[in-house]
């Protein structure tokens, strides 16, 4: 695998999963969202692998960092321009192997060099059977709530829920100080 920067850590559980579940989830939108990712392989191959990219997101509701997400600033002080998105993968939902483009983020924060951008996934719930994350050729399973994995651009990764229960994660995009 290429020499991407991949980091791992753990933060104390300080959020209410019931609150997160109650948020206004909407389905990932192909037309407006797909340009933010670069799928591995050609599009025909991708369509064979995952017939539909299916998962749910909550965008842009944390501009003012409500108290439920104060832990982000506390534990990730080494990231600037933090942008948060919540993800929910229901059973059977997957994203294929891809890298991210950060077009929206770079434009919003005026980032000149994409290589300054770092992305973190915080696991909001305990690992459950069938929940999977793969980053730069390494599989992640059996995590605890509060574990996180971070990587720089353009590290290939995929996420999947092959199980029977919802998989919730918080995605933090920022720039390294």
């Amino acid at each position: 695998m290429s020499n991407f920067k991949v980091m791992q850590g753990h933060i104390p559980l300080s959020w209410d999963l019931n609150f997160i579940e109650s948020l206004g989830w909407k389905k990932f939108n192909y037309d407006t969202d797909l340009h933010n990712a670069r799928w591995q392989g050609d599009s025909d191959q991708y369509s064979k692998i995952i017939p539909d990219v299916k998962f749910s997101v909550v965008y842009d509701i944390f501009e003012d960092y409500p108290k439920e997400f104060e832990f982000v600033n506390k534990h990730f002080q080494w990231l600037n321009n933090k942008h948060l998105v919540l993800f929910k993968f229901s059973p059977g939902e997957s994203s294929g192997l891809h890298t991210d483009r950060y077009a929206y983020y770079s434009n919003k924060y005026g980032i000149q060099n994409d290589h300054d951008i770092f992305r973190i996934i915080v696991f909001l719930g305990e690992w459950k059977s069938g929940h999977y994350l793969e980053v730069n050729g390494k599989g992640f399973t059996n995590w605890s709530a509060g574990d996180w994995v971070g990587w720089d651009l353009p590290t290939p990764h995929l996420a999947a829920n092959l199980g029977t229960e919802e998989r919730y994660t918080l995605q933090i995009t920022g720039t390294l100080f």
Partner: protein
């Protein structure tokens, strides 16, 4: 669950050229633990080769001397194919040898090095990043597991079933 490793002495290219037959999932051979409503979300299928000759795969008997009445097949999961969480039973085998599913042991040998998106889970443990020759074994009855190929390359495994003689 037990795990181990055997030397990779097989011809990986030959494995790829075998005559695989799409299998699907035969009712009565497995107990799905996934909500039926969710099964539609998966491409629930794989392909296999049965009726292979042990003489062409001498390494099976050489390495798994502690299993008797062995049956084996080679399984192929193409990109996108998934075997959702389930347990297995083996009515053909138990009828042939007049035994119970609780007597049976199953081994999966990974025939190639792990590749992106290849996922195996057994007893709530995710198994990835394996090397060709790594194997995992479990009591057939009541052991939940799942398989998925979320990557871009085929996934080949040997499935071996038998009765342990070492316990």
């Amino acid at each position: 669950m037990i795990r181990g490793h055997i030397p990779c002495t097989w011809d990986q290219q030959k494995i790829k050229t075998l005559d695989y037959t799409p299998y699907g999932y035969t009712p009565g051979c497995r107990v799905n633990l996934t909500d039926p409503a969710d099964l539609d979300r998966y491409i629930v299928s794989f392909s296999l080769v049965r009726d292979l000759d042990f003489d062409d795969y001498p390494w099976i008997n050489e390495n798994f001397t502690w299993l008797k009445n062995k049956h084996f097949q080679i399984n192929l999961f193409k990109p996108g194919e998934v075997g959702p969480l389930h347990t297995d039973v083996y009515p053909y085998y138990t009828s042939l040898y007049q035994c119970e599913d609780s007597d049976l042991f199953r081994v999966i040998v990974f025939l190639e090095d792990w590749k992106n998106g290849h996922y195996f889970e057994l007893e709530n443990t995710g198994i990835t990043n394996y090397a060709a020759g790594d194997w995992v074994g479990w009591d057939l009855l009541n052991t939940p597991h799942l398989v998925a190929n979320l990557g871009t390359e085929n996934r080949y495994t040997l499935q071996l079933t038998g009765v342990r003689t070492d316990v």
